[in-house]
Amino acid sequence: MLDMLCMIDAPCSMEQSMLKFIQTKLECDSEYDGIGNLIAHKKGDGKKLMFFVSVDEDAIVVMNRDKRKVHFSHKGERKINKGDLLSFGGYLAVAEDEKSCTLLKEYEINTADTGCIYAPVYEDEGVILAKEAASKLAVSAMCEATSENSNYDVYFVFGVKGKMRNTGLSAAVSKIKPDKLFIFEETAKESEKLCVKLMTKAFNSNRELSQNLIDKYSLEVIINSEETSSGAVAVCEETAVIGIPVENTEFARQKANTKLREDILNLIKGEL
C-alpha cells in the first residue's frame, strides 16, 4: 500500500484521488465531511479519540499561461529549483524558478489548474524517498489500524488542505470535538524513533498525555521554538503531536525509515 500511496498526487485542495484510494483500504465506515476530510469512524461508547494526518502536498496553481510558458503560485514549504519537474495532471513542465515553468509541449493547461512537484518514489532496504514521506507512513499505519477494536469512540481522519494553514485539521476538530487528539506530522529532528513535540512555535502539547506517550513508547522529545506544528490550530485540550523524523524537509522528497510505520501502528494500537 505504501508504494501506491507514494505514486498518487495530492496537491492541496485536490486530494480526492488520494482519499478515494485510502477509502478502499479502510476496515470501517467512512464519510467525507463538509470540506472534504475523509473520516473513518469506529463507534464505541467511551471517550472520543481522534487520530489525524494531512494527506496533501505542495500545490502549484497556474496564474497565467502564454504558449508553453506558465506562471504559477506555489503553496507549501518545499523548494522549487530551476530544472525541477512539475506535473499538471500528468502534463510535465520544467521549472525556471520559484514562479514560472516551461511546458514540455503545448498541453491544454488553463489558469487555475493545479499541479504539484513531480518526484518519483524510491524505496529500498528499509528506506523510502518520497513526497510527504512522513504523511504516507502515517496514512498506511492508520488504514491498518481501522481493523482494530477499541472501547473508545475512535475517528481516523485523513485531512485535506493541511498546507493551507491546517484548514482540514481545524475543521475536523470543530466537527468531531474529540476528547483526545493525536496528530501525526513530520519533524526535521534527527532520530530513529518517533518523537513527541512537547513545545514548538505557538504550540504546547498536553503535558500529561505527551509524557504518557514518551514513557510508554520510548519516544524522543522535541522542545524547539523554531519547529512548527499543526497542533497550534487544534482546539482540543488533550492534544499530542507525534513527529515522524525525516530528512530533507526543504526538498520535494523526504527520506524516512519505513520501520517507523510499525512504530506508528503500535502506538495507535496501544492507545486504542
Binding site: 485542495s13 485536490m14 470540506i35 496553481v61 497565467n64 489558469t111 487555475a112 484548514t167
Partner: protein, 330 residues
C-alpha cells in the same frame, strides 16, 4: 442603494449605521430577519423545493481608523483598523465620529523633513488628524478617544460604466445580496451581512457556526491590478472581465466542485487564484462548511477610493441568481 451604502461609515466594530440601511431594505423581502448580539444580520427566505441550505454572505465593515489620543494642541492621534497601507494615508480627507467631523490626515511637510525622514516609510505613529481646532478642550467638544474615523469619499459614476467610492470592499457585496434578496429561490437561503471581517473574519465565524448551512458563498470585492505597466501574470483579476470565482487566496483554498458549479452559471466570469488577503470563506471552512468566493474586481481596495465596473456587479448578480435558482419574484 450602492451609493448610499458606500457613503455611510462602518469601520470594523462600528457597523451600526450601515446595518440600519440594510435592515430597512431587507425587511421588505425577508421571511425572517435577525440581528445577533455581535451585530451580524441574516435574512432568511424559505425555498420552494428546498434540497439544501445555502448561506450567501457579505461583510458590512470597512477599513478605517480609531482615535487613540488627543494632543494638547487638539490634534488626533490614531491607529488603523484593518489592513491599510500607510503609504496611502498622508493628506487625506476623513470624517471622525458619529457626527462626521471633517478632518485631514497630516504629517510634517516634505520641505521640513530631514533626508532620513524623507526616506522613511510613512507611519501612522507620526501622523495625526487635523480637525481645525487649537486645543484638546476644543477637540473634546467634537470627538472622543475611541471614536472611529473614515475616509471622506463621495461615491460617483465616472468613465465608461465605472464607479468610484470608498469601501467597495465589501459594500458591493452587500448591495449584491440585497438585490438577490428581492427574489425567491428553490432552496432555503440565508442572506447574511456580517461584521468584523477586516480584523479577522469574526462575524462570519460566529454566524456560520450558528446557521450551519450546507454551503456558504462569500460575496466580496477583490484585488484587481489590470494596469498597463503590470505584467499579465501579475494582474490578479481584470475589471470588466466579469465576476471572479476564486480558486484560492492567501488563507483559503475554496471548494473546487462548488466553485466549478458557480463558474458554469456565469455568462462572464474569471476563474482566478487571487493574491494576498483572505475572506470570510476561511471562517466557513473552519466551521466545516463547504465554501466558495464570488467577487467583483475592485481596483485600489483598502485605500481612500476604489473602483469597480458596473457590468461586473451585474454579472455577479446574474451568476448568483442562476446558481441559487430563481423561482419567481418576491
Amino acid at each position: 442603494m450602492l451609493f448610499k451604502l458606500c457613503d455611510e461609515n462602518a469601520a470594523s466594530g462600528f457597523e451600526g449605521q450601515v446595518s440600519e440601511i440594510i435592515i430597512k431594505e431587507a425587511k421588505k423581502y425577508a421571511d425572517k430577519l435577525v440581528k445577533d448580539s455581535m451585530g451580524n444580520i441574516y435574512a432568511f427566505k424559505k425555498g420552494t423545493d428546498s434540497q439544501k441550505t445555502i448561506m450567501v454572505s457579505a461583510h458590512m465593515d470597512e477599513v478605517g481608523f480609531i482615535i487613540s489620543s488627543i494632543t494638547d494642541d487638539g490634534y488626533l492621534k490614531f491607529r488603523v483598523v484593518g489592513g491599510i497601507n500607510e503609504n496611502v494615508l498622508v493628506g487625506k480627507r476623513v470624517t471622525v465620529g458619529k457626527n462626521k467631523i471633517k478632518g485631514v490626515t497630516g504629517i510634517k511637510a516634505v520641505h521640513l523633513m530631514t533626508k532620513d525622514e524623507r526616506n522613511e516609510k510613512p507611519s501612522c505613529e507620526k501622523m495625526y488628524i487635523d480637525i481645525g481646532v487649537s486645543s484638546r478642550e476644543e477637540a473634546l467638544k467634537l470627538v472622543n478617544i475611541g471614536d472611529y474615523a473614515h475616509f471622506d469619499t463621495k461615491t460617483e459614476n465616472f468613465g465608461k460604466n465605472f464607479i468610484k467610492a470608498k469601501a467597495l470592499d465589501d459594500r458591493c457585496g452587500c448591495f449584491i445580496i440585497l438585490e438577490l434578496l428581492k427574489k425567491r429561490y428553490k432552496n432555503d437561503i440565508y442572506f447574511c451581512f456580517v461584521v468584523q471581517e477586516e480584523i479577522g473574519v469574526r462575524g462570519a465565524t460566529a454566524l456560520s457556526a450558528k446557521l450551519n448551512p450546507d454551503e456558504a458563498i462569500t460575496v466580496e470585492g477583490t484585488t484587481c491590478l489590470d494596469l498597463p505597466f503590470v505584467e499579465e501574470y501579475d494582474k490578479s483579476t481584470s475589471a470588466g472581465d466579469g465576476a471572479v470565482l476564486a480558486i484560492a487566496d492567501s488563507s483559503t483554498y475554496y471548494d473546487r466542485d462548488l466553485t466549478q458549479s458557480l463558474f458554469e452559471c456565469a455568462e462572464k466570469a474569471q476563474l482566478k487564484k487571487v493574491g494576498v488577503g483572505g475572506t470570510d470563506g476561511r471562517a466557513f471552512q473552519l466551521n466545516n462548511i463547504k465554501a466558495a468566493a464570488v467577487a467583483v474586481p475592485a481596483r485600489y481596495i483598502h485605500s481612500p477610493v476604489s473602483v469597480v465596473n458596473n457590468e461586473d456587479i451585474e454579472n455577479t448578480i446574474k451568476l448568483l441568481e442562476n446558481y441559487l435558482e430563481v423561482e419567481k419574484d418576491a
